[in-house]
């Protein structure tokens, strides 16, 4: 269901009777709350509602569904990206949900329970003056990327490919947030933007026909992030995901946001392979 | 050289100068004497336009101070023109106002080099000579904070003289000096007077005034009470106020 307004107080009544409650680590069972770190600036996964307080989005609704399965309340804490990893390390937060890509390099620092399959794609203006259709067309063009996303590596790989063909490198500009990146695209500061396909398509939809998102050139898993060694919690959350997928809550949520193409059928731990 | 006509000056409600009129001829040494707070320093500061006068008029060397008469309107001078006039009016301040970030010698050479464009070499030579003349040959490279009161006062005198002004304004130039040095400064001033420099000297030392002055002006509460030759004013004054003032000299 629609758990947009749900909060700790509201869902606390799920109670100890919930099916997966006993799988949780003892400390979380007794506190009854799971603290989640999230950078709530990333639609459609998480944003604040118009009141500036309520978290809405795919992640929040999956969390709502998990609350019922795990019998605890899940609290979103909005912090900047820089604080998410230290926050997990210091046990301020039990896990993080922020549409984070699962990669091999990151697996050295944290663990993931994969829950979504996203592609990286090209966002361009409708006029498309530079006639970009694929990643291979971006040699020598100005490409905008959001800081902290895996598209940086894609651009680096493309630069190598360009140089191998004797073409100029991709001119990458990294912006701190999605907003500035889109602004740079609309004001002609960059020619195209590399973006993950989910938020890309939602941006294109809201742009009033000015922007369009091309179909993804590659894809990889998003994961819920855990500190290393929190196996008990990972198992519990993994089980929870499997159950909400089984009763189709998961599919409904993605469908509601038009992201059913990103649905996964299995929820592996550290399933990222790149 | 200097002419003041009904010069008035107030600070807020305090009338400090009340219609002062006097004249100092070229080459003359005029001494201003009077009780503390009578407006002597203020009058000096009006002469080189450090204070704007509120009423009356003032001429130095035939030119109005700070203004030019065109038709029957007084035009305020441009900053640059005022600076030019001030360069020919030397001033020794009661509180010295030495430049603390410059050594004694640099204090003296600053004006000639920057304002008059004298070559550094020459300015330094002249500055040295001036400082030696006031007995500071061995303190040239001291900063003001490393000088005694009397030494600072002498640097201030040397700084003003280095500009070779036509009119010199001294505000108690001997207050921090010992009797020996007073004698020496007196000699310097006599030399200057002979070379034709006009001087206005504020002083509390009647002996000094008697020695150096051609004319003595006695101020009291912003009013010019009495003017005349030192022999007259200092020994046989007309006004009761002057008499009572001089009666107290030790």
């Amino acid at each position: 269901g629609c758990g947009g307004g749900s909060s700790a107080a509201q869902s606390g009544n799920a109670g100890t009777a919930a099916p997966l409650h006993s799988l949780l680590p003892a400390a979380i069972q007794s506190s009854g709350t799971l603290n989640i770190a999230s950078n709530v600036e990333y639609p459609p996964f998480e944003t604040f509602d118009a009141d500036g307080k309520t978290v809405i989005g795919i992640d929040r609704e999956i969390a709502d569904a998990l609350e019922k399965k795990l019998g605890i309340s899940i609290k979103f804490n909005n912090i900047s990206f820089d604080a998410i990893i230290p926050g997990l390390a210091s046990a301020r937060y039990d896990m993080a949900m922020s549409a984070m890509s699962d990669t091999l390099e990151r697996q050295k620092e944290v663990d993931f329970v994969d829950y979504f399959k996203a592609g990286a794609g090209i966002l361009r203006t409708v006029e498309n003056p530079k006639k970009v259709a694929t990643l291979a067309d971006t040699c020598g063009l100005k490409v905008g990327i959001v800081k902290g996303t895996t598209e940086t590596e894609d651009a680096d790989a493309q630069t190598k490919a360009c140089e191998a063909e004797g073409k100029p490198a991709v001119d990458v500009t990294i912006f701190p947030g999605q907003n500035q990146t889109i602004l740079a695209l609309t004001t002609g500061r960059v020619d195209v933007v590399l973006l993950d396909s989910t938020s890309g398509s939602s941006v294109a939809k809201d742009s009033g026909g000015k922007l369009e998102m091309l179909s993804p050139y590659m894809s990889g898993p998003f994961g819920i992030v855990f500190p290393k060694g929190s196996t008990e919690l990972q198992k519990a959350v993994q089980k929870g995901m499997q159950e909400i997928a089984a009763d189709n809550t998961y599919g409904e949520i993605l469908k509601k946001y038009g992201q059913e193409q990103g649905a996964v059928t299995e929820f592996p731990i550290n399933g990222g392979t790149k | 050289m200097l002419k003041a006509s009904a010069v008035c000056k107030s600070f807020g409600a305090v009338e400090v100068l009340r219609a002062i009129s006097l004249e100092v001829a070229a080459g003359e040494v005029a001494c201003l004497i009077g009780p503390s707070g009578s407006g002597k320093s203020t009058f000096l500061r009006c002469i080189n336009h450090l204070e704007k006068i509120d009423g009356g008029q003032m001429w130095v060397d035939g030119d109005r101070v700070g203004y030019r008469l065109v038709g029957n309107k007084l035009h305020e001078l441009k900053e640059r023109e005022i600076a030019l006039r001030r360069a020919s009016i030397g001033m020794v301040f009661q509180q010295f106002n030495l430049f603390p970030h410059r050594t004694a010698l640099e204090n003296v050479t600053e004006g000639p080099i920057i304002v008059k464009g004298v070559r550094r070499q020459q300015a330094v030579e002249e500055g040295r000579a001036l400082l030696e003349r006031v007995g500071l040959g061995n303190k040239m490279h001291n900063y003001p904070s490393q000088l005694s009161g009397g030494q600072q006062q002498r640097v201030a005198i040397a700084r003003a003289l280095a500009m070779k002004p036509e009119l010199m304004l001294f505000d108690e130039p001997t207050s921090a000096l010992d009797p020996e040095l007073v004698g020496e400064v007196l000699d310097v001033m006599k030399d200057l007077a002979e070379s034709g420099m006009t001087m206005v000297v504020v002083t509390h030392e009647m002996g000094f005034a008697r020695e150096v002055a051609d004319t003595v002006h006695f101020l009291s509460e912003g009013v010019l009470v009495e003017s005349g030759a030192p022999s007259k004013v200092l020994s046989d004054p007309d006004h009761a106020r002057t008499q009572s003032f001089l009666a107290k000299v030790l």
Partner: protein, 336 residues
């Protein structure tokens, strides 16, 4: 009198202030540019003024303003008080104290505020429990670090301690602007170091300290947006949370900017009055202006002085009798 009045003095003369043509041209150019800019802004539809209007007083924005103000005020209080301590320590004769103060200023100015905020917020990663006890003996209290250091506490510690390092340099510069003669005079009437600082040096240093402190305060207004890193939101964050949802970046940044401009204007006015207060006695002219207002109220009035707020009273001396004086008129009018 030695003066012989000549014809010249009888001329009627009117004072014409000198024209600064160059300056007036500059001034006009500046005015025109500002006007053009304002006009361009007001009419440019990309600014979406309707959106600005809609959000200017929206609840999340107002909450953000409040948070910004609270954080700024508290952080500046910590910063100023601790900054004075560090500055005085820096000027201490004690070698270790002075070096420790130097180290403080170096370390806290040298570390990015972001790192400091993260450090305080995630202290528990290093020190899971804070315990107070007798060394080698029993523990008296012990707290879970995460519950002791709330996000608010972490924000205060991070902003305040960082600010103190910057303030210490400002205070030090202010103190060094007071001439040594002042300290000597204070010592000569038997003041201790502390009394000298409090009664003589700092009040005079204030005049010099205030403008850069205004800088710091205004800077702090904006710096508070870094507390987002530890999940604390203020004005700029509130705005960015909205535009990350609605993509109305420019109008929402204008909303934030308008608020910052407003707060800065209020602070500037406060600064103006503080500067006037602590400038008393330094600029003879400004003091005279105060004079004119207070004159009649303020003859020889003990109570006013006691309250330590009186301006100077300058009772007019009556003119000496028997000598005519011309009434001085205001400013530059020179009667013939």
């Amino acid at each position: 009198m030695s003066a012989v009045l000549t014809m010249e003095e009888a001329e009627p003369a009117q004072v014409v202030p000198s024209r600064h043509t160059g300056r007036w041209i500059t001034a006009t150019v500046v005015l025109v540019l500002v006007a053009l800019l304002l006009y361009a802004m007001a009419t440019n539809e990309r600014f979406q003024w309707d959106v600005v209007g809609k959000y200017l007083f929206a609840d999340p924005i107002l909450m953000g303003v409040l948070n910004t103000l609270i954080l700024t005020v508290l952080a500046m209080i910590i910063g100023i008080v601790l900054g004075i301590v560090v500055a005085v320590g820096r000027l201490s004769d004690n070698f270790i104290v002075s070096k420790a103060a130097w180290f403080y200023a170096w370390f806290f100015r040298g570390t990015p505020l972001l790192v400091q905020l993260l450090f305080w917020f995630f202290l528990s990663a290093l020190v899971p429990r804070i315990a107070l006890g007798v060394p080698l003996g029993p523990e008296l209290f012990s707290f879970d670090t995460n519950s002791l250091i709330t996000p608010f506490m972490a924000a205060m510690l991070g902003l305040g301690l960082n600010e103190a390092a910057y303030m210490s340099e400002i205070v030090r510069s202010g103190i060094s602007s007071v001439t040594p003669g002042q300290t000597e005079a204070a010592k000569s009437i038997g003041m201790t170091r502390l009394q000298t600082m409090r009664r003589v040096v700092l009040p005079q240093a204030m005049r010099i300290i205030i403008p850069p402190t205004g800088n710091e305060t205004i800077g702090m207004l904006k710096q508070t947006s870094l507390v987002l890193v530890i999940g604390y939101s203020e004005l700029l964050t509130s705005a960015s949370l909205i535009y990350s949802r609605t993509y109305q970046t420019i109008p929402l940044l204008i909303v934030a900017a308008l608020w910052y401009l407003f707060i800065t204007a209020v602070l500037s006015v406060a600064q103006y009055f503080l500067e006037r207060r602590y400038g008393r006695g330094f600029s003879p002219l400004s003091a005279i202006r105060v004079d004119k207002n207070k004159q009649d109220k303020n003859t020889v009035d003990t109570d006013k002085l006691d309250k330590d707020t009186s301006g100077p009273a300058v009772p007019a001396n009556g003119p000496a009798s028997g000598i005519t004086t011309s009434a001085p008129s205001a400013n530059t009018e020179i009667p013939s």
